[in-house]
Amino acid sequence: MTFIAPVKFAIDLLAVLLLALGIKGLSKVRSAREANRLAAIAMILAAFGVLLNSQGTIGISINSWIWIICGTLIGGLLGALTAKRVPMTAMPEIVALFNGCGGMSSLLVALGVALFPSTDGSDGVVGELIRNFSIVVSLFVGAITFSGSIVAMAKLQGWLSTPSWTQSKARHFFNILCAVIALIGGIYLSIDGQNGLFLIVVASSLLGIGVTLPIGGADMPVVISLLNSYSGVAAAAAGFVVGSQLLIVAGAMVGAAGLILTQVMCAGMNRSLVSVLFGGALGASSAASGGGGGEYTNITSCSPEECALTLEAAERVVIVPGYGLAVAQAQHTLREVTRVLENADIEVTYAIHPVAGRMPGHMNVLLAEADVPYEQLKEMDVINPEFPATDVVLVLGANDVVNPQAKNDQTSPLYGMPVLDVQEARTVFVIKRGMSAGYSGIKNDLFDLQNTSMVFGDAKKVLGDLLLELKELGVGSKG
């Protein structure tokens, strides 16, 4: 039996090392995939370490094994199925869902230990007050993570809209009230270890909902990233509850790294974390301050045929893909169109806004799925000076990220958000289903400009028509 403790110790150390290397590697394109595998191996090692240690010291009953296998099989299979089935377009939602489940897991552990304190073998080691406090933190953060993530997922899926009361000041009172109730419950529980348990769970769940529900549109990825950080904190708290240092270090690492990632994302969108969390949705504030910026006065619409004629004469074309493209599953058709253009020696590049596709990096994933060469994707800072020398810009299902209001109109809620300066190009075609506003709910001044033409229709259908027209014109069939 004596050799088990050092072996377990070595396994834990190795697991922490691999996890750290994994997180590090995930932030570089070249090493990302290996890093992900490394982290997965670390998790398996860690689980193995716990099982080995327990088997060797206190033993694992048959009963326990059955329940372990049940939980593993059901959770693992569902997770694997979800990961295989989910379309790439739904990535933000699915990350939110997974994250919420992680929070729920920490919550349940704390709940179990709190309900049946006698089972906790480490009572003597961790003082009772500290143990209770860890339970409180785990319950609190776990519940916020779970309810917040589920709300975020539902909002991204379009199952939930933003109720109007959440835009008023009342929500701050609601949230503060929830926080205070959770705090009172926490103090109770810290002292006597039983009372206040469900008070905390309910109040912090409501708090998670109250904080997430008002946040809309482009800010949602930031919230998901923040909740991701919280689930790390929840895991660390669960580590205190069951007395596992590996859990504490891994949770702390994810929590801190998630915080940094959240900040990086905020910087990319020119938003501060405070304004994301307490500023409310963009669209609603504009609706309150004067009907969303007025009516459109100068809309030009045209057919795919005209669009094809203009494209034929172009030398430089820039594509601006947005979420609409992804929803229409049109990235493959788009790839065919750009192949035809490339065959005709027309230079094609893609302008990727930092939050294109509603989540940083999401559009890169979607275009990669359609086989678009990596070198053709250009980031906003690189492409913006190139728009004046561009003949045609195709805006596909993007809206807010090409709204010149963000630069010109100080009263606009979008003001200050970095945008793509597509209006600098000679001609802009906006392929869009109708005149509805973007995710922010704000009028897009771009559509009113002289050099902008709207091509109405589903992105996939329009691109299909465009492809036919281009072929009819003989574009790109020189060989």
Partner: protein
């Protein structure tokens, strides 16, 4: 108190390590990194395991632990697989280039 003070050190150093690990992340990797870090936060499965092992014959506790383990593994396995799916798309292009 020895476990507690040790654990606090671990918490502090772990947090500092986490802050240092990610410096500059290219926007391309924001989504995969978030999803990968998310999978790691499912490490709370260790807590669920410990809970089940220590609960002996206490049925409600076994059930709670098992559900907790299920949630955690849903997070871990789903998270890693989905991250791998995303990253596979980047690397496919790399090899062809």
């Amino acid at each position: 108190m020895s476990f507690f003070s040790e654990a606090l050190w671990v918490l502090l150093l772990g947090s500092l390590l986490g802050l240092e690990l990610i410096g500059k992340v290219p926007p391309t990797l924001h989504t995969p990194l978030m999803s990968g870090a998310n999978a790691i936060s499912g490490i709370t499965m260790l807590a669920a395991l410990t809970l089940i092992i220590k609960s002996g014959d206490n049925l409600p506790l076994l059930i709670i632990g098992s559900i907790s383990l299920g949630f955690a593994l849903f997070n871990v396995i789903g998270g890693f697989l989905v991250t791998d799916r995303m990253l596979a798309m980047f690397s496919r292009k790399k090899t062809r280039k």
